[in-house]
Amino acid sequence: MNAQIVVDIALGLILVGLAAQVALGRHLFRSIVFYVAFGLAMAVIWARLGAADLALADAAIGAGLTGALMMVAFRRLVGIDPEQAQAQMTRHSHVAVAVAALTAGLVATVGLAALTMARAPESAGMQVLARLEETGLGNPVTGVLLVFRGFDTLIEMAVLLTAFVGSRVMTQRSRLNVTTISGFELPLVRTLVAVILPLAVLIAMHLLWIGADQPGGAFQAGAVLAGSGVLLLLTGTLLPAPRSNAMARLALVAGVAALSLLVLVPLSQGRPPLAFLGKGSLLFAEAAMMVSVAVSLTLLFAGAPALKAGRQ
């Protein structure tokens, strides 16, 4: 038994253990915290598997932002009715245990069978790698997202926009309170923000810039920026605004608009939709997507249609 397999087994056990804490833990808040830890463990496993793009995305989105969104929603429930918000309400059922065991067995059977099957030599991934040189991109994942399966990405941005609009419809205008960290006036918190924020912006721009050739890209960069937005909201530097404004709306639709341009411009030149226009056009689309991802996720956390400057 070599060292690699020992590490893999340890990682697998950690992941399953954290998932068990999320699914079976008694207290809801504790489950949310364990979900954040689960997301980080997932990111480590992506890194181990060599999927660096996914490691970056899951660390920022899966662990960070999903956790933050769950915590702020939990905080809102506690604000309405502390007792009911934390009510246990879990039914114990032998049928559920049996069904869960059966499903797990089924997934394991299908997964293990798929592992032993002979893989087709001409997979989609091989074709992507074979044709990647034509685009001049170094990162095949970015190539798939923006060149080979651009429509998926366009619709993904549309889903993000739709989810934001749906959340706005559901959130009442009178509830515009994000809880700020108590004691944010402390010099330590301000210094922390002053150190972290420029670094986060730098990392986001770096991820955006290298995304074409190395792991990184619009989603990872947008998620890092959204994390900074959450930090600014928590420290009261940014505050939710009651009314939307042109800037916020422009930022929200930027991703969909830029990708629509990538579809329409080749059409106007008599080429097929989403025909490759060069690396510059990709950087433009990725920058717009980064802004949309960052602003949508920050506003979803704030539960507000726009942001305004808060205490300095």
Partner: protein
């Protein structure tokens, strides 16, 4: 036993835990956590099962999973907004499939549009 087998078994266990959580949880946020666990299990399978190319995972499923992660956080955020609204309206965060929702107000001793909801509507309109 190779690393892939380990991760497939882990994904199966996490999926099972997710199914169990989804079935037994009363609180909607617990159901959402369970659904997110199941999603992660599917993502893990999508990356582990396809053949690796030059020692790295196939880029096509990687891009699919990257899309999936963003879609997951979007839909989770929307579901959480729905949950907060439902909680405000019915006073608890459970779904009772066996009970007619119109009856819930009588069961819990408050009408479906309680005073809080009325207040929100009043201040919500321009």
């Amino acid at each position: 036993m190779s690393g892939e087998v380990v991760f497939v078994l882990a994904a199966a266990a996490i999926f099972g835990l997710g199914v169990h959580g989804l079935l037994t949880a009363g609180h909607i946020m617990r159901k959402l956590l369970a659904l997110n666990l199941m999603l992660s299990a599917v993502f893990l399978l999508l990356i582990v099962v396809p053949a690796r190319i030059d020692g790295l995972p196939d880029p096509v499923p990687q891009a699919l999973v990257l899309t999936g992660i963003v879609i997951a956080v979007s839909t989770t955020a929307f579901a959480l907004a729905l949950m907060v609204r439902l909680f405000r309206r019915q006073g608890h965060a459970a779904i009772h499939p066996d009970v007619d929702p119109r009856m819930l107000g009588h069961v819990t001793g408050r009408t479906s549009a309680g005073p809080q909801e009325e207040h929100d509507r009043g201040s919500g309109s321009r």
